[in-house]
């Protein structure tokens, strides 16, 4: 029995690997590859926010700012000094990670919806700086002429070749996130989310792990940003506005918050579904809104939540599907 199921698993993973590797060949147009590449970037960001928010419980709506950090690092270094992606990538990761850590500092004091606003505010502020400091960032017009990467003399110039770069980043990102979650750091994240009071008593330095979770989230978004800059060769501040964060959150939610697989499923499903319904114009967005409402009201665990419910897995639980013990931390009750 066990052998059979592990064989099934091998076959399944084998098929998945084949499809993943051969995707640019079976895709009928470059546009499809481009859409999947974009989905790959969203998956990276979604993995990041899943670690920080899904597992560690930190509300963070500043994803766009993290992505901007990566993208602007790459764009500025590449267009002004010709630095290639291979050097921009670690630099972008570091800078975005530091931004993540800095944004985590208010989190140590401010909680819940107050925190939601603080992170929106910080992201807006970073955006305003990018828009206004034209001497450095080229302002609202953005930076164009970023070079696509090259590896050992082979240009990675089309969506098809770039696909493999994105694929490698997503696979590495996914595995890294899994390793984090399988070790002490991951357990500490969940502990903080479940009960930060108890976590402290267990010797967990809550502040340190909160900062770390957000720094990691920043790194993931930074990678997405660097890739984005080199992929589209053009960036402008409006790409990194609040709506990007919202889009990533929505897909994470649809996939399943608190599940790495959910990030992957949501990150693929949402952009592709929207693509299907493009022809419906405004109705497409109405449908999008309705879909979000339906998911939230009836399937708060997302796709993975539904899958798990079908599987009846015990010992695992979706944090966001639960009702808090006391409804919504009623500060309201203190109001005169």
């Amino acid at each position: 029995m066990k052998n059979q199921s592990s064989n099934m698993k091998r076959i399944g993973l084998g098929i998945a690997a084949l499809v993943l590797l051969g995707f640019p060949l079976i895709a009928s147009t470059r546009y499809q590859v481009h859409i999947v590449n974009m989905a790959g970037l969203y998956i990276l960001m979604s993995l990041g926010i899943n670690l920080a928010m899904g597992y560690c419980g930190q509300i963070n709506l500043a994803l766009g700012a993290f992505m901007a950090m990566g993208a602007y690092t790459a764009a500025l270094l590449n267009t002004r000094m010709g630095v290639p992606i291979w050097i921009n990538m670690p630099l972008g990761m570091i800078l975005a990670g530091i931004t993540g850590a800095l944004i985590a500092l208010p989190m140590l004091k401010v909680k819940s919806h107050y925190l939601a606003l603080v992170t929106i505010g910080l992201a807006e502020t970073i955006n305003i700086i990018i828009v206004n400091e034209t001497w450095f960032t080229e302002g609202p017009l953005g930076i164009s002429g970023i070079k696509m990467p090259e590896l050992f003399g082979i240009p990675i110039d089309g969506a098809e070749r770039f696909y493999y770069l994105v694929l490698i980043c997503v696979v590495v990102g996914y595995l890294a996130a899994r390793q984090i979650m399988n070790h002490h750091t991951g357990r500490a994240f969940i502990a903080i989310r479940d009960s930060d009071v108890a976590a402290r008593a267990m010797g967990i330095n809550v502040a340190k792990y909160q900062i770390m979770a957000n720094a990691i989230c920043g790194v993931y978004c930074g990678v997405a940003g660097v890739l984005y800059a080199h992929m589209t060769t053009y960036i402008s501040p409006d790409i990194f506005e609040f709506k990007t964060a919202l889009f990533v959150l929505t897909m994470t939610m649809i996939g399943g918050m608190g599940s790495l697989a959910g990030s992957v499923v949501g990150g693929l499903a949402l952009p592709l579904t929207l693509e299907y319904f493009r022809a419906f114009k405004s109705w497409q967005l109405v449908g999008f809104g309705l879909a979000i409402m339906l998911v939230v009201l009836f399937f708060p665990g997302g796709v993975i939540g539904i899958a798990r419910r079908l599987e009846q897995v015990r010992g695992l639980r979706l944090p966001w599907a639960r009702k808090p013990e006391k409804p919504a931390q009623t500060e309201a009750s203190h109001v005169p």
């Binding site: 070790h183 357990r187 990691i216």
Partner: protein, 254 residues
Amino acid sequence: MFLEIEHLTMRFGGVVAVNDVSMSIQRGEIHGLIGPNGSGKTTIFNVVSGYYKATGGKVSLEGKPVTGLAAHQITALGFARTFQNLRLFTSMTVLDNVRVAMGQHARAGVWGEILNTRAVQREEKHFTDRALELLRLLNIAEYAHERATNLPYGHQRRVEIARALATDPKIVLLDEPAAGLNEVETTQLRETLLKIRDSGITIFLVEHDMKLVMGVCEQITVLDYGKKIAEGPSAQVSRDPVVIEAYLGKEEDL
């Protein structure tokens, strides 16, 4: 002295929850802290373990000052605690609940974890083995892979104790570990407490179950309205008229 509490005072606004309490605990003893509800027992725990900042006084362990440190730093010094109302990590398995408490000994760092180095694997194995050992000590090893909140209440209490022990403490602060337990479970708890003590860990116990307290504690401190009203060996305290009047007298059913 092992644990030394000197002139501890804790005020919340105008309310004095703990009023100038001094006490000390010897290494290796089970020390009971009793008193009627609202007498400040849990507040003392919360101050000692770093959740509240004392209004006055100080706490030290083996001569090292504890007051003013953050909760996780205090844990690192060798304190561990359980909570009066269970505070398990609800979405984790029993095993993970215990393993996460060993984190302060994790040397790997996030990079090592991502690369899953040999050292990390060894460390991880050590955590798992030690966690299972603790679960066996508390007779709940068979539930290791269950979600903690799926366990019966009495078992959840044990998970809390196992988790506290996993931090490798010198002293554990147990906040009403017998609350909600039936008689059989309480007897088992008593044996567990003795086993823990025998392994060299000092126990600081807040408990309402007088039979348990009198059965296991060598020393007892009694609080009333935030003030210390008596202390000494359990036999002596249980005969103290002040205590009987202030505490036992009020709860005749005990």
